[in-house]
Symmetry: none
Subunit: 210 residues, 2 copies
DNA sequence: GAAAATACCAGACAAATGTCTGGTAGTCAA
DNA sequence: TTGACTACCAGACATTTGTCTGGTATTTTC
C-alpha cells in the first residue's frame, strides 16, 4: 500500500464490500472528499494493480475483494426445517450470518441446534451450526439429517456388521440418548462444518453465589 | 410469493445478493429470459411489496435482503498473546475473520484456544474465541486473562469468603485442572462473547472401524 | 535544474441502469 | 359481455456510472 490516502480508500471500499454494498467510483470520491472522480478512480486502479482489490471492467459496483482477503459472505440462518427439505426453509430464513474461509460459497446454510443430544461433542442447545449442503456423508461426519420430519444434528457412523452388509447409524453424543438406526431411507441435508456459540445475551447462573 | 416466476426471480436475486453481487434490473431480465425490462421490474417491485426484498430507490444494484442490516466486518485473529498485552499482538495478526451482529466493532479480537481446560464448557482446543476487549468482567463470564505471561481462557468467579472480603478465581471447566487464585493483580484482556469451531479440515478417528 | 512520479482537479462522453408510459394477450369472476 | 387482474412486451428518457483526455501543483529522483 503506497500512501496513507490509498489506505483510507482501501479501508472504505473493503468495509463497504464486507457490509454488502459495493461502492461506486463516485461514492468513493465523495467519501474521500475528492473533487474529481478521477482521483478516486486512480486510487482504485492502484489498489487493483497491487492486488488488494479485483474488479470487473465496465460494470457498475464491479469491485471485489480477492479471495484471500475476505471470502466473507452471508448465508441464511434457517428456522424450522421440516419435511420437504431445504427449499421451503431457505424461502423464509430467520436472518443471515457472515462466514468466511469456506470455499463452497452457495451451498451453505446455518441452523440453530435444539436439544442436548450432541453435548459431548461440545455442541450445545442454541449453538448455531453451519452446514454444507450435501446428500451423503462419510463415517464420523457430524451431519444434519431429516428424522421424523425434523432436522436433527447427529454423528454419522457407517459400520459393517458380521454379515458384511453396510449399516448406517446416527449417533447422538450424549449417553442419555439412543442411536438412531434409520429403517427406510436416510435423508441427509448436509455436513456440519462449523459450530458457533454466542455468550453475549446468555445469563450464567451459579448456585455458589449468594 | 404469488407465482412461480416470481419465485424464480426471488431465488436468482437472493443467490446473487448472498454471493456478494447484487444484480441489476436488466440482469434479472436476462436471467429470466424476459424481453422487456419492465417484466423484471414488476416482479422486483412485487417482491419488495411482499417484504421479501428491500431496495434503495434510484441507486444501481440497490436491492437488499431484509434484516440484512448486519454489518459484517473483519477482526484480527491473534497469534501469541503474551506479557505486554494486546497492543503488540494486534500489530501482527495471524489473519482476519468475519463477524457480524456485534456492536462494538473496534474492540473485538479472536484467539485460538489451547488446551482442554474448558472442555466441560464445550470449548475445545483449536476452537476460536471472539473476545471483547475489557479490563474487568462479572462473575460467571468466560474471560481471557493473562496468567504467567500467557493468555488463557477461563471462567471468572467472584465469591465472598467467610470474612466478607471479595475473592476472585479463574476456574477451568475440567476436573483435571485446578482453579487459579491470582495472588497479585489479575490482568483481564476481555470477555469471550462467541466460540467457533471448524470441522472441515479435522480428521475424525473412530476405533470401531476396521 | 530537468525529468519523472505523485496526487489531485475539471470536464466530458458513452454505456449502464432505474424508471416511466402505453401497449397486448390471457384468465377469472360477476 | 364486461371489468379487473396478471403477466408480459416495446420503446423511451433521465440519471448514474465507468472511463477518458487533458490539466495543475508538489515532491522525488537523477
Amino acid at each position: 500500500m503506497s500512501g496513507k490516502t490509498q489506505h483510507r480508500v482501501f479501508e472504505f471500499v473493503r468495509d463497504r464490500i464486507l457490509s454488502g454494498s459495493v461502492p461506486t467510483v463516485r461514492e468513493v470520491q465523495r467519501a474521500m472528499g475528492f473533487r474529481a472522480v478521477q482521483s478516486a478512480q486512480e486510487h482504485l486502479d492502484a489498489l487493483v494493480a497491487e492486488g488488494l482489490l479485483e474488479k470487473t471492467p465496465r460494470i457498475s459496483r464491479g469491485y471485489r475483494l480477492p479471495e484471500h482477503h475476505s471470502s466473507a459472505f452471508m448465508i441464511p440462518l434457517l428456522g424450522r426445517v421440516q419435511a420437504g427439505g431445504l427449499e421451503d426453509a431457505v424461502e423464509d430464513p430467520e436472518g443471515y450470518i457472515a462466514v468466511d474461509g469456506h470455499p463452497s460459497r452457495s451451498r451453505l446454510f446455518a441452523l440453530k441446534v435444539r436439544g442436548e443430544s450432541m453435548k459431548n461433542a461440545a455442541i450445545l442447545p442454541d449453538d448455531i451450526v453451519i452446514v454444507r449442503q450435501q446428500s451423503s456423508a462419510e463415517h464420523g461426519d457430524i451431519v444434519v439429517a431429516l428424522i421424523d420430519d425434523q432436522a436433527t444434528v447427529k454423528r454419522l457412523k457407517v459400520t459393517r456388521d458380521t454379515g458384511g452388509s453396510i449399516r448406517v447409524e446416527l449417533h447422538p453424543e450424549n449417553p442419555d440418548f439412543s442411536p438412531i438406526i434409520p429403517v427406510a431411507d436416510l435423508h441427509i441435508l448436509g455436513k456440519v462444518i462449523e459450530v458457533r456459540r454466542q455468550y453475549e445475551a446468555s445469563v450464567f447462573y451459579d448456585s455458589d453465589v449468594s
